[in-house]
């Protein structure tokens, strides 16, 4: 099995200290987190972590089981890049004079779909969103003209096949698993555990 990018989506309670509990599952195994984002989810009071790592699938599956084992974690899913829609956001601060003087720069920004979010006499801040390669492409292109500052956000991702977490949550809220939950959902799809 080859290492590849996996996006782990974790539904959790909103609890202080949980970020650490999840982060140490990776650091204990000397696995680098490429990107980590926490945000609200489609359900009020349920939080959503989006974590990107480079690993083989077998390791990712085990990591997800360790994450799910945490008391405040509702569910963990992992997906390959093909199974998700994802975006990252980046901000670039460029000297205003460069834009004003060099037509090429203006064209470049246009090409990459950059949008000006702040315009000052001395600098302009542009924003792009997209996949890693596009964002990195624009940095490279801007570098010769003097990029003052650059920052990129963590990845946010939507699982293509997901039907949302509402139904699952009902199951979690019931005191005892209801009569309709006869099957162990994990065992049902042993090969695709933790994918919706």
């Amino acid at each position: 099995m080859q290492k590849q990018e996996f996006t782990i989506t974790v539904y959790t309670e909103n609890q202080i200290g949980l970020l650490n509990r999840i982060a140490i599952i990776f650091s204990r195994r000397k696995i680098n987190i490429e990107s980590l984002n926490t945000s609200p989810s489609e359900i009020e009071s349920v939080h959503r972590f989006t974590i990107v790592i480079n690993e083989i699938e077998d390791v990712v599956r085990k990591l997800c089981r360790q994450i799910e084992k945490q008391v405040e974690v509702l569910k963990a899913y992992y997906n390959t890049n093909e199974e998700i829609v994802w975006q990252e956001l980046a901000l670039y601060k460029v000297p205003t004079e460069v834009i004003a003087e060099k037509v090429k720069v203006e064209r470049l920004l246009h090409e990459y779909g950059a949008r000006a979010v702040a315009i000052r006499t001395d600098y302009i801040v542009f924003e792009t969103s997209g996949h890693r390669e596009e964002i990195e492409g624009l940095i490279k292109a801007l570098e010769p003209y003097g990029l003052i500052e650059f920052v990129r956000s963590a990845r946010v991702a939507i699982i293509k096949d997901s039907k949302g977490f509402h139904e699952k949550l009902k199951e979690f809220e019931s005191f005892e698993p209801g009569a309709n939950v006869i099957e162990n959902e994990f065992l049902d799809k042993q090969e695709e555990v933790f994918t919706m």
């Binding site: 309670e13 509990r21 085990k62 089981r65 084992k69 509702l74 939950v181 162990n184 065992l187």
Partner: protein
Amino acid sequence: MSTLELTKEKAATSVSKTENISGSEAVLKAFVAENAVTIFGYPGGAIMPIYDALYDYQDQLHHILVRHEQGAIHAAQGFARASGKTGVVFATSGPGATNLVTGLADAMIDSTPLVCVTGQVFAHLLGTDAFQETDVINITTPVTKWNYQVTDATEIPSVLAKAFYIAKSGRPGPVLIDITKNAQIQKFDYKGYEPCTHIRSYRPKPIVRKKYVEEAAKLINAGEKPFVIFGQGVILGKAENEFKKFIEKSGIPAAWTIMGMSAIPTDHPLAVGMLGMHGNYGPNVLTNECDILIAIGMRFDDRVTGRLDKYAKQAKVIHLDIDPAEIDKNVKATVPVWGDCKETLPMLTELIQQKKHDSWLQRFRDFENEEEEQCIIPELNPTDEVLTMGEVIKLLNELTKAEAIIVTDVGQHQMVACRYAKYKESKSNITSGGLGTMGFALPAAIGAKFGAEHRTVVAIIGDGGFQMTLQELGTIMQKNLNVKIIILNNNFLGMVRQWQQLFNDKRYSFVDISSPDFVMLAKSYYVEGQRVSQREKLKDALATMLNHDGAYLLEVMVGKENNVFPMVPQGCSVSEIRLK
């Protein structure tokens, strides 16, 4: 009035009316309501309000003052393991809390239910490097099943209810609750204690799926050479009877991990011994020969499996475990049976055929005979003058009629004790399995005695391990506790020395350890004792120890350079186990 009745009365009265109480009192009310009445602890600045409240609760809560917080937590572990209940600990902030870390890690890896309450500095001082402030929550996160910091007293009843529920349910583990001093002092309207029975994000038991039980039964019924290996899951699940019925109907030979030991009597006709690095010959070799390997409540630790890529490759593996993360973690399961073995074993027993596997069982006995000749007889009936650890255990078996709780530390004596000790009752073997914590035995034996007051508790400890937590002799003295202590003294850190002999060309690097006069040391704590180094005096000495009314320390001088065999050398397959 019994504690239980008191508990009920207390619970009933507390629900009916609202009272204005302090956070500290709410902590104690929770302990009473959970019937967690034996507390091991040590006071200090940040937990003083709780200790002050405890002053008025001495009729309901039994607090044992230890000599070091590590002693408190190991005692709570011993209590939990002997009683099957949750062990509870009080410690103060800073050093008090950090001294719990080893015990938390030990309880985490050995799935021992604990609730530890630590004091913390005032909430407004958090993060200011205040006196005795440490970031206990973050220090203990990797070694707790759950932890939580309380800064407001109103949270205390529900947080403690959650703590007890999480510690005991599913796969048990340690929970730590850190309570800031202001929350301990704060008065609030107490509405009574309600035990926790459900947490939305927490599923203690996976739902059992019949299809996999059926598949497992089919495999077992078709198996020619099935082999059961079991761990502490059987004991934690209180499934000893269900387990016995399962092996007795299927006629399958069963071997235990160090943590599973005593779940069935050691003389059970289907018991074939211990697995692992210093386990028995047959179970190790035949793991690589069986056709169906049925693992029950065990986690395929590396000390059990040896080299993983040569482990049971020929076998179809059925894995019963309550923790989904254990399935496929180390050994890929052909059929995973997730769930509480108390539920899954009877389902499985119903579907399997009544069978006998006489010739297969005989294979184990044949290996046993070979092991007997090469390892066991020399250890238990030595011909030279020096005493062996094994003969001490053999005599102890005879004198206690295999009815004692044996608490062991870590090292050669632990392996010898676990190899040769005989058990009739479950929860009789208490040892630090996963973490291998030297210094565990003495405090754990104290806890075990409180957890099973009617039973004889014998701690077997090496000369090295005893010196790590010997301060708990003070606790034994103060509580006048009837704990029997055997120090097997070989004047070496024996297990490391054995490895250095076998794998490092006898380069004995810092394993030569000297000891104080243990008997005199015990006497200074008013604990009776004697030293024995002659075979003819050993049995009498053991009998004197067991018959003595109160604690007793027996130091047995054993061979300096004796080794524990058989042994699966690290990096070798279980079938490459060495007899010498």
